[in-house]
């Protein structure tokens, strides 16, 4: 009898196919949403830096009325449906135009009915100016009136390069002045504050009076300090030091005045479409370019200038202009601090739970509690951080170490919100993630390695420290990555524990002990909220919001990538075997 060796026919429709389709649809939907969101953010974030064509629009509002010319970029092209006088639906095609010059026009944007535009022209000379105050402006330059009286005409071929040279010079002066004011004078002010505090302490603690031509110091009723041996000499010394600092201060202000001597002398002449010549001091201009004269690479150059400026500069004008460097830096430092705090605490906790605690219902319930902490709303952590870390812990630190400042100026140092407390709060919030993944990693270390270590005569702690922990490190890193992803973008708890709209100085800088953990800081997430929803001109802020979002995502991605690279290295080192 011949055996039938042929395979059975494949079923026409594999069983469960519909369900497989469902899963792939689910995944596809998820991916579309993620990439759609990312795409929108990346496109809008980058577009904010790209130079836009400037147009001269000639508008006629009444049929036989007067024509007006305005300069601007088209920022929106939309059709609105309205009901006209007869109750019929009518659609209006209109442009949103960015004109800048907020202080002249009252607003930076306006809508124009496209039908009213009689002429739209890419005037080659039109300039986009970024100014220190008042936001951007789109103008038609006439020339530059130099301080020696001569005029550089805008029609000259060298006009743009002269313009850029002059604004660069002004920028240079501005930066030098800023350096002196912020750095040198700032340092003197800090020292002065400290000395003056000492003076106040002595004055509030001792009564100094002339008795028979001799100064005598007597202790007051409620002295701040009572252990100064010779308050009179001490006071004299302080006053002398203060005088010294004042003299130093004078030299710096003289330097600044000298630098500023030529400021504001060169004037840009321009008009805004109505032939009225307007004037603007050149040093008010941060950057200017002629968008219509630029080729692709020229535009790329402007893009790059905007982009680097955005990353590296301080914000201006209530954060709606300028860069976001302090926010990037603050977010980075906060995340690093948070990681530095959460890792040791989480690892130690996990080691105790997994290796030392007697496994039983108690430890199990502790574990459940820790896991559930991850579900507590972040603002609750913020409030806890404010109450416990800031007021209690920080207040105690002030009582112990900064009581002088507290007593004299009545200003807290650590007893107020700051980057340390914000990081600590986020560390607490992300602790469960680190504990859970560390515990998992610890329990995944093969038993053979533990036994081998013990059989070699290692104590339990030596075994953990030298063998188990290195093997568990990749798992710890996984926890840390998850913690960073959650912590870096969190805003709510920061708002009560240390973030501010505009921080006067960075948490790490060249002054004093270099690391100032008590300082308030700026944060990209909060910046998005502040610029997008708290600034008066939301239209102008919109590109900033997208660009800031893009940078926040980039920062989180970069930090996570770094952590993932480290983890993969560790994995290669510690888990290459075939257990």
């Amino acid at each position: 009898m011949d055996k039938d060796l042929s395979l059975p026919p494949a079923p026409k429709r594999p069983i469960g196919e519909a369900k497989i389709w469902l899963t792939s649809i689910g995944l596809a939907l998820g991916l579309i949403m993620i990439f759609g969101l990312l795409g929108i953010i990346v496109y809008n974030g980058l577009e904010a830096f790209w130079p836009k064509t400037a147009y001269a629009f000639t508008v006629q509002n009444e049929p036989e009325g007067e024509k007006t010319t305005i300069y601007g970029n088209i920022t929106k092209d939309q059709t609105r449906h309205v009901l006209n006088a007869e109750g019929k639906q009518e659609s209006i095609h209109e442009y949103q135009i960015f004109t800048g010059n907020k202080e002249k026009f009252g607003q930076a944007f306006r809508f124009i009915d496209v039908h009213r535009i009689v002429n739209q022209e890419e005037l080659p000379r039109l300039m986009t100016l970024e100014r220190l105050e008042g936001g951007k402006a789109i103008v038609d330059p006439i020339g530059i009136k130099l301080q020696n009286g001569s005029v550089l005409k805008a029609t000259d071929s060298e006009f743009l390069s002269d313009f850029q040279r002059l604004t660069d010079e002004a920028d240079h002066v501005r930066k030098s002045v800023h350096r002196i004011e912020k750095g040198d004078i700032g340092a003197i002010n800090n020292k002065l504050d400290e000395l003056q505090r000492e003076v106040k302490i002595i004055e509030r603690s001792y009564d100094i009076r002339e008795v028979n031509g001799v100064s005598v110091a007597t202790l007051k009723d409620n002295p701040i300090v009572d252990d100064i041996k010779n308050p009179i000499a001490e006071l004299a010394k302080l006053k002398e030091q203060i005088g010294e600092l004042h003299r130093e201060y004078e030299t710096y202000t003289a330097q600044v005045a000298k630098l500023r001597e030529h400021e504001g002398k060169d004037i840009l002449l321009y008009q805004l479409g109505n032939n009225d010549v307007q004037e603007m001091p050149l040093d008010q201009i941060v950057y200017g370019f002629m968008p219509n004269e630029l080729g692709f690479f020229g535009k790329l150059g402007v893009f790059w200038h905007h982009f680097t400026g955005f990353i590296l500069d301080d914000p201006r004008e209530a954060n709606t202009e300028g860069g976001i460097f302090p926010a990037i830096f603050g977010t980075f430092i906060m995340t690093v601090l948070m990681s530095m705090l959460v890792t040791p605490i989480g690892v130690i906790g996990a080691i105790y739970l997994r290796e030392y605690a007697k496994q039983g219902p108690l430890v199990q319930s502790v574990r459940i509690c820790v896991n559930n902490l991850a579900g507590v709303p972040s603002i609750v952590f913020g409030v806890f951080g404010l109450g416990f870390f800031v007021y209690y812990l920080g207040g105690s630190i002030d009582q112990l170490f900064y009581w002088k400042k507290l007593a004299v100026d009545n200003t807290p140092t650590f007893g107020t919100s700051g980057i340390l407390w914000a990081s600590l709060t986020l560390a607490l919030m992300t602790l469960p993630v680190v504990i859970v993944s560390t515990e998992e990693a610890l329990s995944a270390v093969p038993r053979g390695l533990r036994e081998a270590a013990l059989a070699c005569g290692a104590s339990k702690w030596q075994m953990i420290q030298r063998i188990i922990l290195p093997c568990a490190l990749p798992g710890v890193m996984t926890g840390l990555i998850l913690a960073m992803a959650r912590g870096a973008g969190e805003v709510a708890p920061l708002m009560v524990t240390g973030v501010v709209k505009l921080a006067p100085s960075l948490p790490i800088d060249g002054e004093g002990p270099f690391v100032h953990l008590e300082r308030k800081f700026m944060h990209l997430g909060f910046h998005i909220y502040d610029v997008g929803f708290q600034s008066p001109d939301s239209d102008a802020a919109q590109p900033m919001v997208f660009a800031t979002t893009l940078l926040l995502i980039l920062l989180v991605v970069v930090m996570n990538l770094a952590a993932i690279l480290i983890r993969n290295k560790l994995r290669k080192r510690y888990q290459a075997s075939s257990f």
């Binding site: 390695l449 081998a452 059989a455 070699c456």
Partner: protein
């Protein structure tokens, strides 16, 4: 037997020893002596308690929760359970090699010096000397002397097991416990380790658990047959395999069960 040294006690004495995992008794009143510089093989069907007995000699079973014992085990006359005996120093005298080779995720060098490092001995020259001696002792020196600082995981299975042996003898223990050291290795690697044991027993007392009867006859001086947690028969290897006294032993070595 040890006629020349009549007053020296045998190195390991197991004295009426019983062992329990929770309520489950896995060793029943075992009494036997392991002799110095001999290889003693423990044989018996799976689950008869060979590993449990072996792991009691360096108190590895202490790690398992809920265990207890009766009777005593002594090394050189001192009870392992004497409160004055520190488990850590005991384990320094008793090296152990496991069934599944388990080098640490470190370099070959650091694997071998680990027992010294945890004992706080970090002198470079001593470590270097130990690495060379141990690797030579484990017949691995020639194969790895040029890559001492590479990861141990780059070695073959047989090499990794010999590395584990080198690590176990690094601290010059008196006793080496081996729990089926060749079970995960191919025949050639197995032969190498058997050869090695011949050399090792000059300095060490070896107790080896094996499933492989040929291996027991090849390498051991004495053999103990365990069955269901009882010591059925213990004697010279030649006698056990050629002329077993107990019927169960004979049944086992002729392959009638297990």
């Amino acid at each position: 037997m040890n006629d020349t040294k009549p007053y020296e006690p045998p190195i390991i004495q197991v004295d009426d020893f019983s062992f329990f995992y929770g309520d489950k008794q896995v060793l029943h009143n075992i009494s036997m002596d392991f002799e110095e510089n001999k290889v003693t093989a423990l044989i018996g069907p799976s689950g008869c308690g060979k590993s449990t007995l072996l792991r009691n000699i360096n108190r590895m079973n202490d790690l398992v929760p809920g265990v207890h014992h009766q009777g005593d085990i002594r090394i050189d006359g001192t009870s392992l359970y004497d409160p004055k005996v520190e488990v850590i120093s005991l384990r320094k005298r008793v090296g152990m090699v496991f069934q599944k080779y388990n080098p640490f995720p470190k370099s070959i060098y650091e694997n071998i010096v680990f027992p010294l490092r945890v004992a706080g001995r970090n002198s470079r020259s001593e470590l270097d000397e130990t690495v060379e001696r141990s690797l030579k002792g484990a017949a691995l020196w020639d194969e790895v002397k040029d890559k001492l600082h590479q990861s141990a995981y780059g070695l073959s299975g047989g090499q990794q097991q010999r590395l584990c042996i080198a690590r176990a003898i690094a601290n010059r223990p008196q006793i080496l416990l081996m729990d089926e050291p060749c079970a995960a290795l191919d025949p050639i690697a197995t032969l190498k380790i058997e050869d090695l044991m011949e050399d090792l027993k000059k300095d060490l007392t070896i107790v080896i658990v094996t499933h492989n009867m040929q291996q027991a006859t090849r390498i051991s001086d004495k053999t103990a047959f365990l069955y269901l947690g009882n010591l059925i028969e213990y004697g010279d290897t030649a006698q056990i395999f050629t002329n077993p006294k107990e019927e169960q032993t004979e049944a086992y070595i002729t392959g009638r069960f297990s």
